[in-house]
């Protein structure tokens, strides 16, 4: 096996072991119903995690993801329920707004030479504030198109159902993996995360790539917002608070280094599934309180970071690239 694939393999093996242990305790967890719900319940998180993976591989971070999900949900709900637009038109507008928003953040990061942390923090405040200014309340969406999409399910033997949004997440992951590993844009992203100065000297269009990375992240966050609105049939300005942290956790657990230049899109998928497994286990157990989710995710994060540290122990310690925050 290639040495560089070890973290991905480690994550996958740990997921399988954890799942096997859960099944031993609760045989009911080994069913297509549970697996189908894994995909449906984590669809929005997974789509957001794909964008986050690109940002983190490029050496940045995007704190605005959760806020963009919330803002998109509100925008879509208002356009459909108050303005009477067709959902598809509303989706197009929301994705366009998000592309502009992400592009602006990328441009600010590149041209103002400020850490992505601060720029996307401003983006988070702006998107969350914008959503709250539009409306304070939850806006329900009652449209036949939403009902039609909720009805689009593939029934599996054993009572499981693959929903449209679950399959959409899988598709986004596959496209993301192709984009990262098989396209010129993907190699630019890796080059940028490895060392921005050498990337520039090698002829990587740093400005364009940075803008595109944050545009991609925001567009995927908006898509996650649309999926979230399909999932809940409503738009709420405080929806998906803190999802950026879950997405970052999933990406880190999936074997991507936060220093940039190294990582896998499909690893983030395993990371999302692992987070979903923790929640499902706690629901199955019934006696554990919900706060154990947070503690377990924290412990998992710690374990995976230490694991990465051991795997990369050969690289010189204390030699962090200077501009990462």
């Amino acid at each position: 096996m290639k040495r560089s694939l070890r973290p991905l393999a480690a994550t996958a093996v740990i997921f399988l072991i954890a799942y096997a242990l859960s099944v031993l305790q609760f045989p009911g967890m080994l069913s297509t119903r549970v697996l189908g719900n894994f995909l449906t319940d984590n669809a929005f998180l997974g789509i957001a995690a794909v964008g986050m993976t690109f940002v983190i591989i490029s050496g940045g971070i995007d704190l605005s993801v959760g806020a963009v999900i919330g803002f998109t949900g509100v925008l879509v709900a208002v356009l459909i329920s108050w303005m009477g637009l067709h959902p598809l038109a509303a989706f197009a507008i929301a994705l366009g707004v998000a592309a502009l928003f992400g592009g602006a953040m990328g441009a600010a990061i590149h041209y103002l030479q400020v850490p992505s942390f601060i720029v996307t923090l401003a983006g988070m405040f702006l998107a969350r504030g914008g959503a709250s200014v539009i409306t304070q309340d939850s806006v329900p969406i009652n449209h036949e198109f939403y009902a039609a999409i909720s009805g689009l399910i593939i029934r599996l033997p054993g009572g499981g159902r693959l929903s449209f949004i679950g399959l959409l997440m899988v598709a986004v992951f596959l496209v993301g993996a192709l984009l990262a590993h098989r396209t010129r844009f993907g190699s630019y992203v890796y080059a940028l995360g490895g060392n921005p100065v050498s990337a520039l000297l090698m002829g990587v269009p740093v400005a364009r790539t940075t803008v595109q990375i944050y545009m991609l992240s925001s567009v995927l966050a908006a898509l996650a917002g649309i999926v979230f609105s399909l999932y809940t049939s409503a738009g709420y300005p405080l929806a998906a608070v803190g999802v950026e942290l879950d997405a970052i956790s999933a990406v880190v657990i999936g074997g991507t280094l936060l220093t940039g230049g190294y990582g896998f899109v499909l690893g983030s998928f395993v990371g999302v599934m692992l987070l979903g497994l923790v929640q499902t286990y706690i629901i199955f157990d019934g006696t554990l309180s919900s706060w154990w989710t947070k503690i377990v995710i924290g412990v998992l994060l710690f374990l995976f970071i230490v694991l990465q540290r051991i795997i990369f122990a050969a690289s010189a310690p204390g030699e962090e690239s200077p501009e990462k925050v």
Partner: protein, 334 residues
Amino acid sequence: MKRLHLERLANPQLLALVAVLLINWALFPNFFRISWQDGRLFGSFIDVLNRGAPVAILAIGMTGVIATKGVDLSVGAIMAVCGAVAATMVVAGYPTPIAVVAALAVGIACGLWNGFLVAILDIQPIVATLVLMVAGRGIAQLITEGSIVTFNEPSLIFIGTGSFLGFPMAAVIALVLMILVTLLVRRTAIGLFIQAIGVNRAAASLAGIHSRMLLVLVYALSGFCAAIAGIIVAADIRGADANNSGLWLELDAILAVVIGGTSLLGGKFSIPLAVVGALIIQAMNTGILVSGFRPEFNLIVKAGMIILILMLQSPLVGNAAGFFKRDTRQAGSK
């Protein structure tokens, strides 16, 4: 440094604070009216000092961390943990001093954990502190068993709502802490060492600085500050709310530090200006409230302010050559 004394009074942070306060005064003419009631001062301006204290205290610890080119995302969660510890111990019948000391010790322990991850295991600060940020709130809920632990112990409540010479206790604590930590870093070589680590950790280690010990120290200080802030917030509402205590305050604290001119790239920091940054944020919050705007505008104003600061600090102007950007920025910041 000596000749900078006059310039310091005219620095952009203090001017910004004055500007925000004047705007508040223009929107709400009674902003500066201070009255004396029940042996303490009352008024919107005093309220800014009181409400701004927790973020100011967090910013004091955060400044040291950011000066070493790190960041501490866990302070909000540590606040929740320490507030929960103090509240449950008081409810269990322990005297206030013991509960407070225990909460402070827990805060320092959390900081030491972060420092261990960053300094000994060499994990990037943002990930290392993310662990406690995610797990901390769960631990706090574990301590309070998911409920909001309320208490009526007057001596603990005094820390949050009491007054000293008429000034709110929280603001007095923040002021004392600011002076002590500033003296610690400016009257000893510690500040210089911290800056050296922030500029180049490898070089600092080669120059004989115990960079690991110092890194552990700054994270422990950040945990200690978070514990104080957590106790104040819990005492203020007479209860420990594991879900909401200190929620997103880490971002406000980082913002305050950045407004205070501390570089996120390390190597340059000012604790008093970070406190001024916290007061600017709070003055805007209070201004939006007293002038009758909807509180949702708060976030948008904050975002606008970050963008403005980024523009002002940007090395864009006078930045000609592509990859000499870092050098011109450091030269320009002196």
